[in-house]
């Protein structure tokens, strides 16, 4: 083991300058131990360089872009919600300020009662309809089942419509 053998690691790490590299390379001709090491490492390097690469599926970038657009849509959706919420808040503050609390409260009450009147007339219509349904068909115990079914369908339709309007883009 000569002193120059100590350069082996630096040679393999490509740390030697031009002069020392040439010196070490000529040393390889006469030192079997260093030569064997260098050969072993170059074999490893070759094998590492030939590790096969996996290919990327055709639609990869397209689905990345799709994800990006979905995200943008979602963010836009939240902006819209935010703006609507802010505007309605601002309008109500301005309204209370300009028109006075009692006036606005009365207005809100009248709108609410209109909505309530509409809802109750709807429920009256519904109960009349189901009542006449109940009376016109005489299936005995089945009527209860039919009514329940109709009720569930209405609930289902309502839930569906809520889902459509509040659909979250993932």
């Amino acid at each position: 083991m000569k002193k120059i053998c100590g350069l082996l690691e630096d040679y393999l790490m490509e740390n030697l300058d031009e002069k020392n590299r040439k010196l070490f390379e000529s040393h390889l001709d006469e030192c079997e131990s260093c030569r064997k090491s260098v050969e072993a490492f170059s074999k490893i390097e070759q094998s590492l360089n030939s590790i096969p690469k996996v290919s990327v599926p055709e639609g990869f970038s397209a689905s990345v872009m799709e994800k990006i657009y979905e995200r943008k849509e979602k963010v836009l959706g939240w902006y819209v919600y935010g703006i609507v919420a802010f505007l309605s808040f601002a309008v109500s503050v301005v309204a209370v300020y300009l028109l006075g609390f009692d006036y606005v409260a009365a207005k809100v009450y009248s709108v609410a009662s209109t909505v309530y009147a509409f809802a109750s007339s709807f429920s009256v219509a519904l109960s009349t309809l189901s009542g006449s349904l109940y009376n016109s068909i005489d299936f005995g115990g089945l009527n209860g089942v039919v009514l329940t079914f109709v009720f569930v369908m209405i609930c289902f339709g309502f839930a569906k419509s809520v889902k459509i309007f509040t659909r979250e883009v993932k």
Partner: protein
């Protein structure tokens, strides 16, 4: 490089589609890096998509002091290490057991003659297995250098380590592989 900055500027100015150019340019490297780090092709594809999405969302914070590729690799590396921690994978199994139903990786055509293929395949399988057994910090430098073909400087920027340390780490990883594969390749 220069036109890359132009593409980034276009994206930042609202031309979202231009980001596709960057995805196409780096998808192969990123997918290969992630795949060799975690060992599962399907997970690697999903994770790589997340990496690009994250890069898009964070693009405003990209500073051109590093190359875009370096910045992208940093994101990929963080995400991959996160994934490994969560799955508590210490070593990877290429086409591992337990995910037979998963998507099988498609390899690129090596362009070899049939008589070369067998021997090379045998060696490649041994080397792949050995690489998968390396500790994470050695595995990543070997993948970056030998699979993705990055330069020492780029790896040093990605890892935030001096070049000397990177060279040393690659050397020690090769040494471990040499010991593992003694007489087999």
């Amino acid at each position: 490089m220069c036109d890359e900055l132009k593409v980034i500027e276009r994206v930042l100015n609202g031309d979202t589609d231009a980001f596709g150019i960057l995805v196409k340019r780096y998808e192969k490297q990123i997918v290969n890096y992630v795949f060799r780090m975690i060992g599962n092709y399907q997970d690697a594809l999903e994770l790589s998509q997340e990496v690009f999405l994250k890069a898009y969302l964070a693009l405003k914070s990209y500073k051109s002091e590093y190359s875009f590729s370096t910045w992208l690799y940093k994101i990929a590396r963080n995400r991959t290490i996160d994934f490994i921690r969560k799955k508590k994978l210490n070593t990877v199994s290429i086409e591992g057991k337990g995910d037979e139903d998963g998507l099988k990786p498609q390899y690129e055509d090596s362009g070899l003659r049939p008589d070369e293929v067998y021997e090379k395949k045998r060696r490649a399988v041994l080397v792949e297995k050995a690489v998968a057994k390396l500790p994470e910090e050695y595995r990543e430098v070997i993948i970056m250098y030998h699979v993705d073909g990055l330069k020492y400087e780029e790896i040093s920027d990605i890892l935030g380590l001096p070049i000397g340390t990177v060279k040393n780490r690659i050397f020690r990883a090769r040494k471990m592989l040499k010991d593992m594969l003694e007489g087999e390749v």
